[in-house]
C-alpha cells in the first residue's frame, strides 16, 4: 500500500466524488420512504428529497400487500438460490475431476469447457429460447435457473483452486485406500469452503441481477423475476404516479444484493479478482 499522504485537495475532491456517487441510491431510498401524494407534487421536498421527511412506510406496505412484487421477489430468490446450489454442486465436482483425476478425454473436454468462457449469454439466448419453446418449457422456474448452470466460470475457478492443493494431502488418504469419492468429500470439499463461498456469492449476485434471459423466457407475470418485474412496472408507471411505490420496489429488488454486499464484501471482491484472472 502507498503510505504517502495525499495532498489535501485530493482528499477533498475524492471524498466529494464519493458523496455524489451515493446520491442516486440515497435518493431512491429516500423517495421510497415519502408519501406518494407529496411525490406527485415535488421530488425535492427536504434537502433535494435526500432526506425522507415526511416519513412513511406506506409504499412498502402497499407493494407487499397488493400486486405481484412479493411473487417476483420469491421467484428471484428461488431462481438465484437454485442456480447457485446447482452451480456449486456441478462445478466443485467437475473442478475436482479436471484438476486431480487423470482420465481419458480430459485434455479434450477441459479446453472445450474453457472455450465456453468466451461465449456470452447474448450469443446463445435465441437458440436457447427456441429450444425451450420446443419443449414447451417456458414460464417455469427451472427454465429460468438452468442456463446459468451451464456457464463454465465456476468450473474454471474450482479447477484452478483444486490444482493448487498439494498432493501430500491426498497421498495419505490414497494409501489408506480411499477412492475419489471419499477424497473429494472428506478432504477436498472442507478445504474448498472459502472458495465455494466466493463462487456462491458471485453466482447469486449475477443470477439475481440477470435481465436478458428472464425477459425472453418468462412471458407470464407470475414467472417474472424481480428484475424483469421492476422493468415492467417502470414502463407502466407515469413518472409522477406511484413514484414512491416504484422506488420501494427498486429498494426491495436491491435489498438481497445490498445485504450480501454488506456482509460478504471481501468475498465479492475476491470473486471478481479471481474470475477475471488471466
Amino acid at each position: 500500500m502507498n503510505q504517502h499522504a495525499l495532498p489535501r485537495w485530493v482528499v477533498i475532491v475524492v471524498t466529494l466524488a464519493a458523496v455524489v456517487w451515493l446520491i442516486p441510491v440515497v435518493w431512491m431510498v429516500s423517495l421510497s420512504l415519502q408519501p406518494n401524494d407529496l411525490l406527485s407534487r415535488t421530488t425535492a421536498n427536504t434537502f433535494l428529497g435526500l432526506v425522507p421527511v415526511p416519513f412513511t412506510l406506506d409504499n412498502f406496505q402497499a407493494i407487499l400487500s397488493i400486486g405481484d412484487t412479493p411473487r417476483w421477489f420469491l421467484n428471484s430468490m428461488l431462481v438465484a438460490g437454485g442456480s447457485t446450489f446447482l452451480v456449486l454442486v456441478t462445478s466443485t465436482m467437475a473442478g475436482y475431476a479436471f484438476a486431480r483425476i487423470r482420465f481419458t478425454g480430459r485434455s479434450i473436454v477441459y479446453p472445450l469447457v474453457l472455450a465456453g468462457l468466451m461465449v456470452p449469454e447474448q450469443v446463445v439466448f435465441i437458440p436457447l429460447y427456441v429450444m425451450f419453446a420446443d419443449w414447451n418449457a417456458h414460464n417455469s422456474l427451472p427454465t429460468l435457473a438452468l442456463p446459468r448452470v451451464a456457464l463454465p466460470i465456476g468450473v474454471f475457478l474450482m479447477t484452478q483452486f483444486f490444482k493448487d492443493i498439494p498432493d501430500s494431502l491426498e497421498e495419505a488418504a490414497r494409501l489408506e485406500g480411499c477412492g475419489h469419492g471419499r477424497i473429494f468429500w472428506s478432504i477436498m470439499l472442507p478445504l474448498a469452503k472459502p472458495m465455494m463461498m466466493t463462487l456462491a456469492i458471485i453466482t447469486f449476485l449475477y443470477s439475481w441481477n440477470d435481465y436478458l434471459w428472464p425477459l425472453v423466457s418468462a412471458q407470464r407475470t407470475d414467472f417474472f423475476t424481480i428484475t424483469v418485474g421492476l422493468a415492467k412496472i417502470q414502463g407502466n408507471f407515469a413518472q409522477s404516479q406511484g413514484l414512491g411505490q416504484l422506488m420501494a420496489s427498486g429498494v426491495l429488488a436491491s435489498l438481497p444484493v445490498i445485504i450480501l454486499f454488506l456482509i460478504f464484501q471481501k468475498y465479492i471482491l475476491r470473486g471478481i479478482a479471481l474470475s477475471t484472472d488471466k
Binding site: 466524488a17 441510491v25 478425454g105 473436454v109 450469443v123 413518472q239
Partner: protein, 360 residues
C-alpha cells in the same frame, strides 16, 4: 476387466465427476452455440416454424449478405474534428513521453496507443454515410457507446485506485462506496437514472431549478441521450475496474515509488511516469475486458430510452432482441449475434496474443 475395478478406475471416476456439469453444459451452452450458427444460415421465422417445423429455408450466407448489404460504405471525418485533433495530439505526446522515460517500453505501449488512436480517429468519426441500414446504425451506436464508456471508466477508476490504494478507514470506506453501485441490477440502475434525468422532477432538474435553468430532456434529446446512458453506465461500472486496478497496484514494489519520490517526482509526473507504466498490463487487460463486456450493452438502452429518440441509442444486442422477438426473424437475428461474437472474439484474441508476446 472386472466391473468393480472399472468402477474404481480413474476413467470412470473422472467422467462420473464431470457428468453433472456436462448435462448442463452440452445442451445449454455448447449446442445452442452451434445451433446459433445453423439458424443464422436459415430464413427462419419464429412463428412460422412454431406452426410448421419445415417452414425454415436454408439460405447459406444470405443473412450475412443482408447484414453487410450497405453499398455505400465509407465514413466522413468531419464531425468532432477539433476535439479529435486535441485528443490525438495528447495521445501521441503521452506515448512519446512514456517511450522516452521507459527504456523497456514494450508491446503494450504501442498497443494502447494504437487502440486510443483508433478510437479517437476512426470510431468517433463514424457518422452519416458509413451505413445505410439500421444494422449499421446500431453497430455505430454500440461502437460509440464503447468508445466513450471504456476510456472514461478506465481513467476514473485508475485515478480513484491510485488515490485509494492506501490503508486506513477513509480509503476503505471510499473503496466500498465506489464499488457499491456495481452490484445493483441493470433494472435498478436504469430506474434510478431515469428519475435522475427526469425533465420535470428529476434530480438534475431539481438541482437546476433554483437557478432558473430549465433542465434539458436528457433521455429524449438525440444529442444528449447517448451521453446520458454513458454517464449512468460509467457510474455503474467503475467499481469493477477499480477493484482490478487496486489489485494491480498492490504488485508495484514500494521501493519503486519511494525512489521516484526521492527523485522529486510528484503528482502527475509520478502517475504518468511511474505508476501507469508499472501497471500498463492491468490497464490493457481491464480495457479489453470492458470492451468485450460493453459490446453486450442491452438494458440501459432498452429501459432508459427504448433505443430512442429514433434509433439514436439503439444498440447491437437490443436490435438482435427486437429482430428476434418483435419481428420473429430469429435466423437474421442469429446472424447478427454471430457477427457480434466474432467482434468480441477478435478483442479476446488480441488480448491473448499480447499477453503471450509479453510472456515470451
Amino acid at each position: 476387466m472386472r466391473l468393480s475395478s472399472f468402477l474404481q478406475s480413474d476413467n470412470f471416476s473422472g467422467w462420473a465427476f464431470i457428468l453433472p456439469y456436462l448435462i448442463a453444459f452440452v445442451p445449454l451452452l455448447l449446442w445452442p452455440f452451434f445451433q446459433g450458427f445453423w439458424m443464422s444460415m436459415h430464413e427462419w421465422n419464429l412463428l412460422a416454424v412454431t406452426f410448421n417445423p419445415a417452414a425454415k429455408e436454408f439460405i447459406g450466407a444470405g443473412n450475412y449478405i443482408r447484414l453487410m448489404g450497405a453499398d455505400n460504405l465509407g465514413w466522413s471525418l468531419q464531425p468532432l474534428w477539433p476535439f479529435r485533433l486535441v485528443v490525438t495530439a495528447l495521445i501521441i505526446a503521452l506515448y512519446v513521453r512514456t517511450l522516452r522515460s521507459q527504456a523497456t517500453a514494450g508491446i503494450s505501449h504501442h498497443f494502447i496507443a494504437a487502440i486510443a488512436l483508433f478510437t479517437t480517429v476512426v470510431l468517433l468519426g463514424l457518422t452519416g454515410d458509413w451505413y445505410d441500414t439500421r444494422f449499421w446504425i446500431v453497430v455505430r451506436n454500440t461502437l460509440v457507446f464503447v468508445a466513450w464508456v471504456v476510456p472514461v471508466t478506465t481513467a476514473v477508476a485508475l485515478l480513484l485506485a491510485i488515490a485509494l490504494n492506501r490503508e486506513g478507514r477513509w480509503a476503505a470506506t471510499l473503496r466500498s462506496v465506489f464499488f457499491f453501485s456495481q452490484i445493483l441490477s441493470v433494472t435498478v440502475v436504469t430506474l434510478i437514472w431515469q428519475l435522475v434525468y427526469g425533465a420535470r422532477n428529476g434530480f438534475i432538474a431539481n438541482l437546476l431549478a433554483p437557478f432558473g435553468i430549465e433542465s434539458p430532456n436528457w433521455l429524449t434529446d438525440d444529442q444528449l441521450a447517448m451521453g446520458a446512458i454513458v454517464a449512468a453506465t460509467v457510474w455503474w461500472s467503475v467499481g469493477f475496474a477499480l477493484i482490478l486496478f487496486l489489485a494491480g497496484l498492490q504488485q508495484i514494489p514500494g521501493e519503486r515509488l519511494e525512489a521516484a519520490t526521492l527523485d522529486g517526482a510528484e503528482g502527475w509526473r509520478k502517475i504518468v511516469q511511474i505508476i501507469v507504466p508499472s501497471i500498463i498490463r492491468t490497464v490493457q487487460f481491464v480495457m479489453i475486458m470492458q470492451i468485450v463486456l460493453h459490446f453486450q450493452v442491452f438494458g440501459q438502452s432498452q429501459l432508459m430510452t427504448q433505443g430512442g429518440p429514433g434509433d439514436a441509442t439503439n444498440v447491437w444486442v437490443r436490435y438482435i432482441y427486437q429482430t428476434a422477438f418483435r419481428d420473429s426473424e430469429v435466423g437474421y437475428a442469429s446472424a447478427m449475434a454471430t457477427v457480434l461474437f466474432a467482434f468480441m472474439m477478435l478483442f479476446s484474441l488480441i488480448q491473448f496474443w499480447v499477453t503471450k508476446r509479453q510472456e515470451s
